[in-house]
């Protein structure tokens, strides 16, 4: 690397040494009686997971706040969340019933599919126009016609409950952080950690506290979806024009008036972006949380994957995608609407001023009434549903029969030529040496603080006996990130340089980003079955987006003056790219790499479902056994890998920016 001239000798040397150690080290070390350096001795493992499990057990079984016990406390929260959830679920999916189990009798049916569809069409029209109304209407019709209605409504009910809680909680925390600097400082590391700890890891303690069922799933969803709202709220409030704040003071606003009548409404546009994020993350998490009893579309995918029911998995997967796209477009339209002037509704009566609400209400009542005689109006008739299951079954069967050899060849090629050597390399490095290297890298890029942090975090992983699984994690994540970058960065550059390609890639990226991570598993499992290669493909697909996006943004934001200077100096197009655009876009590309790693790590845990042997699997096993300590320790290990990667890359991006004078050294 050009900027590290004295290091140009040191680092390749160290790398060669590492490689030699990884390849031949085992023999040498064992000969020298230092076998413990290859395999972290069991006797040295700190039994942290047992302590955590014991603490959890104490918390649930014995802890008490005096007036009430911890368990009563969690039950109370459960009850609070359950009430609105049961209502939403009854309204959309199951109807109101009396009695339990088989003796249950439906008193009032759920809202008919016709009325729900009419409702979203009205929302689409209200939020933007007839085009959007048609799109969301078609999406919901698809769910009905293709037999996904009930599962989709269960998922929707969860989202409808999780989103308001996530938004309100995020808003309040964000406002508090904005008001109190000390609270912000306290909150920031917690948010950082929450975003890097894989979701499965906190599913375990939640499961332990709230039990298997929709409430656990909702709690997990809210915890997962809230951090971006907190961040966006604080950021948006800080970004409010200081003049507007001054105006608020000069009008004699009290603190409360200042917050709720001046700052929050002024920041509405940015806050709506946060709301959209919460919605998409909630949807993503509700799907994942089907594992702990959220039910709905995620459960359908999961059970289909377990039974290798190709068609069923695809159908439910597509339904997730369609639901996600519909909700995303709808919420984005609402976000944009907040800043557009709409003429006040005309008419003097409530009915005239709210034509949409009246029509939807009428359809709702009519469908209830007609539904009593014509069940098809109430529930979309099973006989009229179309199924694409067989189509997908046959398609995959056809591919697997006719192209089996080709698929196997690709898989083998990657496995033997790329994945396995890298895996051997990482597993071959003696752990003390690896820790030393991570520390050295930290020291080079970020000084002693980063070095110490890397040392402690890598040490934690070794000391808790997670080393081998952590190395598999690093290998799987690393190879995926490399491939995602090889594909993503050139795509991003192409998107920035060529406008037409840019538009197509933009649409592609936007769509990829709306898909819940779960969905990526379906096609790759169908074609390549389970294993490291499949996991890698799913991770690459999921982690591709930031690589493309940041590369495109970096190349685009190079100052046009510099490009002109290059043109005047007689640069060819290729020279413009390699000499000016790419070097200047490097910091931005590095940040994209950072995001790619984060997404790869979060996807990694989900790929544990397809049989990897890394930390993700450890978390997944802990989840099935409800072993809190095991799950949390593995979760922390993943978070630490993420944090080390994040800090090192951020530090190197910063040093690159300083070199180009884009940021001052002491800033």
């Amino acid at each position: 690397m050009a900027w590290a001239s004295p290091r140009t000798v040191v680092w390749p040397g160290l790398f060669v040494l590492t490689w030699l150690l990884a390849t031949f080290g085992r023999g040498w070390l064992e000969a020298a009686g230092l076998g413990w350096a290859m395999q972290y001795p069991d006797a040295w493992v700190i039994p942290l997971k047992d302590s955590i499990s014991a603490a959890m057990k104490w918390l649930v079984e014995e802890a008490s706040f005096g007036l009430f016990t911890f368990t009563e406390f969690t039950r109370g929260i459960s009850w609070l969340i359950e009430q609105p959830y049961n209502l939403a679920r009854a309204l959309l999916a199951e109807g109101f019933v009396q009695g339990h189990g088989r003796r249950a009798v439906q008193i009032v049916p759920p809202v008919s599919w016709i009325a729900v569809t009419a409702g979203v069409v009205a929302l689409g029209h209200y939020a933007r126009d007839w085009l959007l109304a048609t799109i969301v209407g078609a999406a919901f019709l698809y769910l009905a016609v293709f037999g996904q209605w009930e599962s989709a409504m269960v998922t929707l009910a969860s989202v409808l409950i999780a989103v308001p809680i996530g938004v309100a909680g995020g808003l309040l925390l964000g406002i508090t952080a904005y008001r109190h600097r000390s609270f912000e400082r306290l909150l920031k590391p917690v948010l950082d950690l929450m975003q890097t700890i894989p979701i499965f890891a906190y599913l375990v303690p939640i499961l332990f506290m709230f039990g298997f069922g929709p409430v656990s799933a909702l709690v997990a969803t809210v915890i997962y979806a809230m951090p971006p709202m907190v961040r966006i709220t604080t950021m948006a409030l800080h970004a409010v024009d200081p003049e507007i704040r001054d105006f608020g003071v000069m009008s004699g606003c009290t603190r409360r008036q200042m917050t709720w009548r001046v700052l929050v409404p002024s920041a509405r546009a940015s806050l709506m972006v946060g709301v959209n994020q919460v919605i998409m993350l909630s949807l993503n998490m509700v799907i994942i949380a089907s594992m702990i009893g959220a039910g709905g579309l995620g459960f359908d995918v999961l059970s289909a994957l377990r039974r290798l029911n190709i068609g069923g998995g695809f159908e439910a997967g597509i339904a997730i995608v369609i639901l996600a796209v519909a909700i995303d477009r709808l919420s984005q339209a609402f976000a944009a609407r907040a800043t557009t002037f709409t003429p006040p509704p005309k008419g003097d009566t409530w009915i005239k001023r709210h034509p949409r609400s009246v029509i939807v209400l009428a359809i709702l009542l009519a469908s209830y009434a007609v539904g009593l005689f014509l069940p098809a109006v109430q529930t979309y008739p099973d006989t009229a549903t179309l199924t694409t299951g067989r189509f997908w079954d046959n398609g995959v069967k056809y591919l697997n029969i006719n192209f089996y050899d080709q698929f196997e060849a690709v898989k083998l090629f990657f496995l033997q030529g790329f994945l396995l050597p890298v895996k051997r390399f990482f597993l071959g490095i003696p752990w003390p040496w690896a820790i030393a290297m991570v520390t050295a890298i930290g020291w080079t890029f970020g000084g002693w603080k980063l070095a110490l942090m890397n040392l402690l975090m890598a040490g934690f992983i070794a000391a808790t006996g997670m080393w081998e699984k952590a190395m598999i994690t690093v290998y799987l994540c690393g190879t995926s990130v490399v491939i995602a970058s090889i594909i993503g960065i050139p795509l991003g550059i192409l998107a920035a340089v060529n406008e037409r390609a840019g538009r197509i890639i933009g649409v592609l990226i936007d769509t990829l980003q709306t898909l819940p991570s779960f969905v990526y598993l379906i096609p790759v499992v169908m074609l390549f079955r389970i294993g490291d290669f499949t996991a890698m493909l799913a991770i690459v697909l999921y982690a591709l987006v930031p690589a493309v996006r940041y590369a495109a943004h970096g190349v685009r934001s190079v100052s046009p003056e510099l490009i002109e200077a290059g043109v005047i100096s007689g640069c060819t197009r290729r020279q413009l790219l390699t000499r000016i655009r790419l070097p200047l876009a490097l910091p931005e590309i590095l940040l994209g790499l950072n995001q790619t790693i984060m997404l790869a790590l979060s996807m990694l845990v989900i790929t544990a479902l397809v049989g990897t042997r890394d930390l993700g699997q450890e978390v997944y096993i802990a989840l099935t056994k409800a072993d809190t300590g095991r799950g949390l320790v593995a979760g922390f290990a993943i978070a630490f890998i993420a944090i080390i990667a994040d800090r090192v890359i951020t530090a190197s991006a910063r040093s690159a920016r300083i070199r180009y004078g884009l940021e001052s050294a002491n800033g």
Partner: protein, 342 residues
């Protein structure tokens, strides 16, 4: 000034940086007021240094300075938006800095209005709601607030646009909304922080006329901030010129042109249209006799130039009571006009 001071400040300081201990030290008795070297020695930057002002009731007081001169900080100190490091601020003889938060809120709700450079309109409210906002904040009934808001909207000439949103208006119209909003509570003190700087020159001129028209009707006590010397000359009863946090000179436009305190001030006055600034009294020959029905001593040269030159002989100048105080001839007027060209 004959009027009592409505708003005044004494030895007002705002410094950034430096420890609290250092601040206590430099605002202690021995070295007060501290010089530049002292501030620098303690690692402090002074945004406003040792400001004394007395602003009279009903006067348009302009604070003029280039960017970084501390004028915005000074107005924010006077308006109570930021706390000074040292000094006193009096409004109607009451110490602003000794008031409780509650008293300050009451004061702002009823006695102060402020217009901002970038308008500071709330983007989610209509024109009507924006103007009514300070009233609703006080808890006034919706109907009463709306009636008053409509009144001031009409006053600034925006009738018919009540239900528009700020971003649907031009810059000039947005600032009219800002002005209407600041007037809605009938403030006694009206702060205007570079209100016309974000507007293009033609609109700026129009808005200045509008401002003078409004002040002619309302007679508020005004603190007006600008970086534009011509604007200051055009609008001010008195001007305070600031540089590097210090007030260099406080004077009427005429005094500034006649007796600039230093080269810095003189540099600004060089391109001022002198005929519009200088009054007959400053140019006439005192005590001399002249003819005619009498020219008011306070009239600007530009207003009387044509008459004096056409007369071809010295004309009598009279004061407010009609007593002759001197005479003015064509030559003196021409001198003013010619120096104008230079």
């Amino acid at each position: 000034m004959t009027n009592p001071a409505k708003l005044s400040c004494k030895a007002l300081w705002k410094v950034y940086g430096g420890s609290d201990q250092a601040k206590g030290h430099i605002f202690g008795a021995e070295i007060f007021p501290p010089g530049e070297e002292v501030l620098q020695g303690f690692g402090m930057i002074g945004a406003v240094k040792h400001a004394f002002l007395e602003i009279a009731e009903g006067e348009i007081f302009v604070i003029m300075g280039l960017s970084g001169s501390g004028k915005s900080t000074l107005v924010r100190l006077l308006a109570g938006l930021i706390k000074p490091s040292f000094g006193e601020i009096y409004l109607d003889g009451k110490d602003l800095l000794k008031m409780s938060e509650r008293e300050l809120i009451e004061l702002r709700r009823h006695k102060m209005g402020m217009v901002f450079q970038h308008f500071a309109l709330l983007p989610h409210l209509t024109v009507l709601q924006n103007v009514a906002f300070p009233l609703t904040i006080q808890g006034q009934a919706k109907a009463a607030a709306q009636t008053r808001a409509l009144e001031v909207i009409e006053l600034v000439g925006l009738k018919g646009r009540e239900s528009y949103f700020p971003r649907e208006l031009s810059g000039g119209q947005q600032q009219r909304v800002g002005i209407a909003r600041s007037l809605a509570v009938k403030p006694e003190i009206w702060f205007l922080d570079e209100p016309f700087s974000a507007l293009d020159p033609l609109i700026r001129r129009e808005m200045q006329d509008e401002f003078l028209r409004l002040q002619g009707m309302l007679k508020k006590t005004i603190v007006f901030i600008t970086h534009d010397f011509d604007e200051a000359i055009r609008l001010a009863d008195r001007i305070a010129i600031m540089k590097d946090g210090r007030i260099i000179q406080v004077a009427t436009p005429e005094e500034l042109v006649l007796n600039p305190a230093d080269d810095y001030v003189q540099e600004f006055t060089r391109h001022v249209p002198r005929d519009k600034v200088l009054s007959v009294g400053a140019v006439m020959e005192k005590g001399a006799a002249g003819e005619g029905s009498g020219i008011p001593v306070k009239a600007k040269i530009a207003e009387v130039a044509a008459d004096v030159i056409a007369a071809g002989k010295p004309l009598k100048v009279i004061d407010d009571t009609g007593q002759p105080v001197g005479a003015i001839d064509a030559q003196r007027v021409i001198d003013v006009l010619v120096r104008n060209e230079a």
